[in-house]
């Protein structure tokens, strides 16, 4: 996804000299070509996330369109007040690009595990919150972010994630994308867990359960109409995300279904309210929290068959 990000940003920067890349001293082996091609549209502020956001706000006040990059935890939390006041309150078109999904840095410890960022970004007025599920979503949604008049936040993974979509045409900022149709259950996924959700639906099919798969890459504004259409009549609704169960996709969807009187069985497959202990691979943590094809399908099947 990170490669898709820089490739797409380079194309945007080539067309529009107001497109800038601003980094908090990260991007080794990824940004070098951009820096060489667009030196006047690039800034490294150093290890200073508050300044990353504040300076980006100043650039936006001058008519620039900065894409501000850091690791997800630092990008979302270290400068939260700058994001709130400088970007959201002033409603400036700064796009925050947050590198790393919850377990991208799986051996680094929880300082590097973004698990709250969707919740805190969703809480901000004027903020658009995006979590692409594959490189095609990164490309399409980044182009969408570049057209926004206000601030946005995109969390991308960085380990060469597979492509899920077969075409870009079904990907639009603010709209869910239906990847599979099934009448029994709906699996809604956001972020790099998307291919696992799709594989979970395959497994379920083999067990006689027909599940829809929905990519909800835009967490805010939530595509209420698209989601409600996809959820209608399903016995089980499951959300899957690399995020705490508080305030992320599960929170957003549960708010939506509660408001709309939907009484399907609801499952939030997410990280519980804890700092994951121990060290291991990305897969090790994903398995622990049932965020694998097997884990998702097992949970959905159990809910489906429960009396």
């Amino acid at each position: 996804m990170r490669t898709a990000f820089i490739r797409t940003l380079s194309a945007l920067a080539e067309k529009d000299k107001n497109v800038w890349l601003v980094t908090g001293d990260l991007g080794f082996s990824v940004f070098e070509n951009f820096i060489r091609r667009f030196p006047k549209q690039y800034l490294n502020v150093g290890v200073a996330e508050q300044n990353l956001i504040g300076v980006s706000a100043g650039l936006a006040l001058s008519g620039k369109r900065p894409f501000a990059y850091s690791i997800s935890t630092f990008a979302s939390m270290r400068a939260y007040e700058q994001i709130r006041n400088d970007l959201c309150y002033q409603d400036l078109p700064v796009a925050i690009i947050a590198g790393g999904s919850s377990f991208s840095y799986s051996t680094f410890g929880c300082t590097h595990f973004p698990m709250e960022d969707f919740a805190i970004m969703r809480a901000l007025p004027n903020m658009t919150v995006i979590s692409p599920g594959d490189p095609l979503e990164v490309e399409a949604l980044l182009k969408g972010m570049n057209k926004l008049r206000g601030p946005s936040y995109m969390r991308i993974a960085k380990k060469g994630e597979p492509t899920v979509h077969t075409t870009k045409s079904s990907i639009a900022l603010g709209k869910v994308a239906l990847l599979e149709s099934g009448e029994d259950a709906a699996i809604i996924a956001t972020g790099r867990i998307l291919p696992s959700a799709q594989m979970a639906a395959e497994i379920l099919k083999g067990r006689g359960i027909r599940a829809s798969v929905v990519s909800c890459h835009t967490l805010k504004p939530l595509d209420a109409r698209g989601l409600l259409a996809a959820l209608k009549g399903k016995k089980v609704i499951a959300t899957c995300e690399e995020h705490h169960e508080i305030g992320g996709l599960g929170g957003a969807v549960s708010e939506l279904i509660a408001k709309n009187g939907i009484t399907s069985r609801f499952l939030s497959i997410a990280i519980p309210d804890e700092f994951p202990s121990g060290v291991g691979s990305q897969e090790y943590f994903l398995e622990r929290y049932h965020l694998t094809p097997e884990g998702i399908s097992r949970k959905v099947e159990k809910a489906f068959r429960a009396k």
């Binding site: 502020v45 300044n51 706000a57 006040l61």
Partner: protein, 274 residues
């Protein structure tokens, strides 16, 4: 966008009018932070009367000079200076603090001409001014970017992040004025978190430094007219000021960060203003 340079007596008159306006409107709106406003009025008067290439008519011109009041709690004094220079109508200022009005207790972008950024949380203005200045530099503009910070907000780490970067980039179109009135919200600066040796810290961060009396137009005007102080370096003007300046009962008094002027004391207070 050239301004005819007013003489010092004219600047004094404008600053006096701003102080009286501030006291009157603060009293009727029960507003705090009067001391903080009084300490910057001479500086902001000098800027808007004689230094900044911006007028109400050019307030959206991309080539204009830009000013950010980073110490946003001193907004009311700033609004008075903006009103005296035609950016805010007197009528709007008179309604300050009333229901269904625009001007907040801290400046908010888009609520009045002349307000270039939202402030209120300390330590935000300098980074935004830096972004503006860098964009101006790369776009080849000759504009100046001036930001007024308080001494208290030099406690903020975010202020120092921006100080380091501006020095590193050598942004000589960027000027910081420190309203160094030596009193922050809970005590004297030297007791709470001493900034000294203050000038040395800026110099070590590659800034050109001038220290002057922030209430003396004979010192302010030459310094502000010769920006940058050094080519290739951002400028900081450490303006030694007095919190509550111009109202004897308020001068150098911490409590005038918080108190308002009771209506029954207004006439007597106004009579003191100098």
């Amino acid at each position: 966008m050239h301004k005819s340079k007013p003489d010092i007596e004219q600047l004094k008159k404008t600053a006096l009018a701003a102080r009286k306006m501030l006291i009157r409107i603060a009293s009727k709106s029960h507003s705090p932070h009067i001391g903080s406003s009084l300490s910057h009025i001479d500086i902001t008067t000098a800027l808007y009367s004689a230094i900044l290439n911006v007028t109400p008519k050019t307030a959206r011109d991309p080539c204009r000079d830009r000013f950010i009041l980073s110490k946003g709690h001193a907004a009311l004094g700033y609004y008075c200076v903006l009103a005296l220079h035609g950016f805010i109508s007197q009528k709007e200022l008179e309604r300050y603090g009333k229901n269904d009005t625009k001007l907040a207790g801290h400046p908010v972008l888009g609520t009045a001409k002349g307000i270039e950024a939202t402030s209120g949380a300390l330590g935000h203005g300098l980074a935004m001014a830096l972004g503006l200045a860098l964009a101006g530099k790369r776009d080849g503009l000759s504009a100046k970017y001036v930001v007024l910070v308080s001494d208290g907000e030099c406690d903020e780490g975010s202020t120092w992040e921006a100080i380091l970067l501006a020095g590193h980039l050598g942004l000589d179109n960027l000027t910081v004025i420190v309203d160094y009135n030596k009193i922050q919200s809970f005590g004297r600066v030297e007791e709470v978190l001493d900034l000294e040796p203050f000038a040395d810290k800026w110099e070590a961060s590659r800034w050109a430094v001038a220290s002057l009396d922030g209430h003396d137009f004979a010192e302010l005007l030459p310094a502000l007219s010769s920006l940058p102080l050094r080519k290739g370096k951002p400028t900081v003007i450490i303006a030694h000021t007095i919190k509550g300046k111009g109202v004897p009962i308020m001068e150098n008094k911490l409590e005038w960060h918080y108190r308002d002027v009771r209506p029954e004391d207004l006439e007597e207070t106004l009579a003191q203003v100098y």
